[in-house]
């Protein structure tokens, strides 16, 4: 009887530890092989079919149905250029030049990784929608306050940004840490 209880304890504790490790390191943890460019992070393993068992599981959780690196490179961040957590009660300026790709977009997602509800349906800015100055630079505002153009809407709470590069220049896949991506600067908080 005593031995049976011990075996049961081993099975229960082992199962909890095993599942806990999966949750901590694979489901909630960051993917192996990540690359950083300013505040932006990417992982060229997203969309690939290679990798070990753990990488495959990470890709399935964090990049489900994503395309491979020649088709699309996905950068994301939950931090601004100063390293502070992105906060929906603040206003941010995302500024830069067109990243080297056939088409690009920057989209804001709530902490649950779905689009942020807003009546104006302003979820993203993209190569086709932003305005540029004479030097070819764009300045987009990410805030709860409404703007008529170059604006991504926020709500209270943490959020994250995803930068998609469709058919990126070969230089991005070759050196994703130096792709000259837009900066993210906090302007104010309410």
């Amino acid at each position: 009887m005593k031995t049976a209880l011990k075996v049961l304890a081993v099975l229960v504790i082992g199962t909890v530890l095993g599942l806990g490790a999966t949750s901590l390191f694979v489901i909630r943890g960051t993917m192996p092989g990540g690359v950083t460019d300013g505040p932006w992070k990417t992982n060229l393993l997203i969309g690939s079919s290679g990798g070990d068992m753990r990488t495959r599981a990470s890709v399935a959780v964090h990049g489900l149905l994503a395309l491979n690196r020649s088709e699309t490179i996905y950068y994301s961040t939950d931090r601004d250029s100063d390293g502070n957590t992105l906060d929906g009660t603040c206003t941010y300026i995302v500024a830069g030049r067109d990243p080297p790709a056939r088409w690009w977009s920057i989209t804001a997602y709530a902490a649950d990784d779905y689009l942020i509800p807003n009546a104006a349906k302003r979820y993203s800015v993209s190569k086709n929608s932003v305005t540029r100055n004479a030097a070819g630079e764009f300045v987009a505002t990410v805030s709860q306050k409404h703007f008529s153009k170059d604006w991504i809407a926020l709500q209270n709470g943490p959020f994250n940004l995803t930068l998609r590069l469709y058919n990126p220049a070969a230089s991005v896949a070759a050196d994703p840490a130096h792709a000259a991506l837009p900066s993210i600067k906090k302007v104010s908080c309410s």
Binding site: V10, L17, G18, M53, A60, L65, L67, N167
Partner: protein
């Protein structure tokens, strides 16, 4: 309980933990794909999803600038025949994923060169290399179940109706 006994029980616990961890990591991609496919509707039929907004909660991080059309497939009863016109003047791609979430095929509007897509996906066997048979692109799926996904970029809201009409002409069905 002696120190030796303790060591034995702790070792057994670690073995169980490692086994459960490895098993759960192995099964995770299958489980994630199964969950995604179950939300997409009937197999071997194309489903044109509405324009993405905050109510789109099937797959994480959807792009609001893309129109998605999906065809969950089950090749138990034969090959899948996929046909689609390519909308002019915008980014378009078709990709295929196996039951383990692997992206085993992708083709975009530039690569296809303006021709309509005629794609046959064969049930799994050895080799997944694309080949052309009688003008059609033929690929072999690594698993019986999986997903074909079309992405069409709405690069100009004024063009939405036109782009939407073209992408809705896509079809997928088991080949007769």
């Amino acid at each position: 309980m002696s120190a030796r006994e303790w060591t034995g029980w702790i070792a057994a616990t670690i073995v169980v933990a490692v086994a459960v961890h490895l098993a759960s990591v192995w099964i995770l991609p299958h489980a994630v794909m199964h969950r995604a496919l179950s939300k997409m509707g009937a197999v071997n039929t194309i489903h044109h999803q509405k324009r993405v907004d905050e109510h789109a909660r099937g797959v994480v991080r959807p792009s609001p600038d893309l129109l998605y059309s999906v065809c969950p497939f089950d090749l138990s009863n034969g090959s899948l025949e996929v046909k689609a016109p390519v909308p002019p003047g915008t980014y378009w791609s078709v990709s295929a994923f196996d039951n383990n979430t692997n992206n085993f095929f992708a083709l975009n509007d530039r690569q296809i060169g303006g021709q309509p897509l005629e794609l046959i996906i064969l049930p799994p066997r050895k080799g997944t290399e694309p080949m052309h048979i009688a003008g059609r692109l033929v690929i072999r799926a690594p698993t019986v179940r999986g997903l074909v996904l079309f992405r069409t970029l709405v690069n100009d809201d004024k063009q939405f109706a036109k782009i939407d009409t073209v992408r809705r002409q896509a079809s997928c069905a088991i080949a007769k």
